[in-house]
């Protein structure tokens, strides 16, 4: 027997510890069960796309870091690739390798933060400290590479800003040797923990058709059991030269496409990134890292689309040039923006406490939604 009570309207955020940035939800609840959760975004909107029209092609690179500050290498790469396509510039092979190495380290760092905060969101503090400890070490490596720990500004149109420092390769390989056993330790600590599984399994189930209809991308799409990775399926950069698998959700602990599947996809992707990194660090060729690009970069009038597999999935860049030194229009479609669009639908009938699990499992980052 179900008893309905008077509908209650609850406000969550915009500064709530588990909303991954400045997000706000208006929750209509019947007791503990939500009728719907209406996302209210835009608190971090800085109109980065409009800024691009004023600062020019080279000048926009540091701003792209702010689109997604948790995995800034991918936004750097997306903008670099869009400009290179407009201007017909070819990146030297060593430059491409440097990009892949930096980006895959960034993917591990981003996934570590994602799975760490996921534990914290549902009340487990310890995994967060473990994940952040590992992420710190990656940040140290990246700091040595480009001088920054969060907003990297490492890539340039036509390659990367700096070559790998002397001795960095050995340090990076040593870190991977340290990371792989830690990955097993992390799994033993949290991934198969009974309480953890019960909080995640069967929550926020998404079918593959629904995910495609709502344009979910990256780990959220793969969590539904749909094998799709831009690095494999629409290859870019030097990714075809590496051997790696694309982990997909298997419904091991509940229904296919639930929060647990999305979590496990991220955990396994870290292992695959480690595999790519080992190959890239061993195969990296010699040569220049940056192509010759005029300081006054003026691509021919036209427009182009670029798709990059970021840590939060397919990031779509659209750039329009009018032949001048300033882009006419820049647009970036991000994974978090699409993921927020499905929350209202998934929240119906969930417990309020599960909304936090749902947000964490979709791995949304507020500046990426608002830009």
């Amino acid at each position: 027997m179900s008893i309905r009570t008077e509908e209650m309207t609850l406000n969550m955020g915009p500064q709530h510890p588990s909303t991954h940035g400045v997000l706000r939800f208006v929750i209509k609840a019947d007791g503990e069960v939500m009728r719907e959760a209406i996302p209210d975004v835009g608190y971090l909107h800085r109109s980065i796309e409009k800024i691009a029209e004023k600062v020019g092609y080279h000048g926009f690179m540091p701003y792209t870091d702010r689109v997604d500050y948790v995995c800034a290498m991918f936004t750097n790469q997306g903008w670099g690739m869009a400009c290179e396509r407009l201007g017909g510039i070819e990146v030297p092979r060593r430059g491409e390798y440097c990009r892949v190495i930096a980006a895959e380290f960034n993917r591990i760092a981003s996934h570590l933060l994602s799975v760490g905060t996921m534990g914290m969101d549902i009340g487990a503090m310890t995994p967060f400290t473990h994940a952040i400890r590992e992420r710190e070490m990656i940040n140290d490596l990246i700091e040595e590479l480009c001088g920054a720990r969060l907003t990297f500004n490492y890539m340039r149109i036509g390659g990367v800003a700096w070559d790998l420092p002397p001795g960095w390769r050995e340090k990076a390989l040593a870190y991977l040797d340290h990371f792989d056993p830690i990955w097993d330790e992390y799994n033993a600590l949290i991934s198969y923990n009974k309480i953890y599984v019960e909080r995640l399994a069967n929550v926020g189930v998404i079918s593959a058709e629904e995910a495609i209809d709502y344009n979910l991308v990256g780990p959220n799409l793969r969590g539904c059991g749909f094998k799709w990775d831009i690095r494999k399926d629409i290859p870019y950069s030097v990714y075809p030269e590496f051997e790696f698998d694309v982990p997909v959700g298997r419904g091991e602990y509940g229904t296919l496409g639930d929060a647990m599947d999305r979590y496990m996809v991220r955990i396994r992707e870290m292992r695959e990134s480690s595999r790519i990194l080992r190959q890239a660090l061993r195969q990296i060729p010699d040569g220049p890292v940056l192509a010759k690009v005029p300081r006054n970069f003026k691509p021919k009038a036209g427009e182009c689309q670029i798709r990059v597999e970021s840590a939060r999935g397919d990031m779509g860049w659209y750039a329009v040039s009018d032949g001048s030194g300033y882009p006419w229009r820049v647009h970036v479609r991000t994974g978090s923006f699409a993921a927020m669009g499905i929350i209202n639908k998934l929240s119906r009938g969930l417990m309020i406490a599960d909304l936090v699990t749902l947000i964490a499992s979709l791995d949304v980052i507020a500046p990426e939604i608002d830009r």
Binding site: V41, G42, H45, S47, E49, K50, I51, K54, V55, R85, L86, E209, I212, D213, Y214, N215, F226, W228, D233, G302, E303, C304, Q305, D314, G316, Y318, V320, Y326, W328, R329, H331, R333, F337, A338, M340, G341, I342, D370, R371
Partner: protein, 168 residues
């Protein structure tokens, strides 16, 4: 099947309502009459030959003499994408919503409505998404002038961007 072959098939099917096929662009695109865009998209989604099951991106662009809405479709089963465009007048631009074909259009159309000012007819929830509800104008329009203040909060300060703009 690739993008260009798809455009030819669409042209055969819809005739005059397809205004232009651009094959020279980095990503070839087709310009469709605004009144036909939903019909064309539904055809591309439902015909098993194309099976465009995903609207991967929807963008509004202000070209000073017109507004363009760009639709990027992708077929996960056929592994290729197509780009469709509609050209709208700058005064009161309006086009039918794509929400009835793909759910992902809901939020992307809200963003275009907010930043460019295109009205999507039949949209279920056409509200501003990124800017505040009472914000004047549409910021991504080329002639948009930022107001000096918003509810008593100054929006202007000396910044490198303003200095750059003065030089330009």
């Amino acid at each position: 099947m690739d993008a260009l072959a798809t455009y030819q098939r669409v042209k055969e099917r819809f005739g005059d309502r397809i205004l232009e096929i651009n094959e020279k662009a980095h990503d070839p695109f087709v310009v469709v009459e605004p009144s036909a865009i939903v019909e064309v998209c539904r055809f591309l989604r439902d015909d098993p030959e194309f099976a465009m099951n995903c609207l991967s991106n929807q963008i509004g662009v202000d070209y000073k003499d017109r507004i363009e809405v760009v639709y990027e479709l992708y077929s996960y089963s056929k592994r290729y994408g197509v780009t469709l465009k509609v050209k709208l007048p700058r005064d009161n631009p309006s086009v039918a919503t794509m929400e009835t074909v793909w759910k992902s259009a809901n939020w992307m159309e809200r963003e275009i409505f907010d930043l460019i000012g295109v009205t999507f007819e039949g949209h279920s929830d056409l509200r501003r998404i990124l800017m505040p509800e009472d914000w004047p104008g549409h910021p991504q329009r080329k002639d948009f002038v930022e107001p000096m203040e918003y509810h008593g909060i100054s929006t202007v300060r000396e910044s490198p961007i303003i200095r750059l703009e003065a030089k330009k």
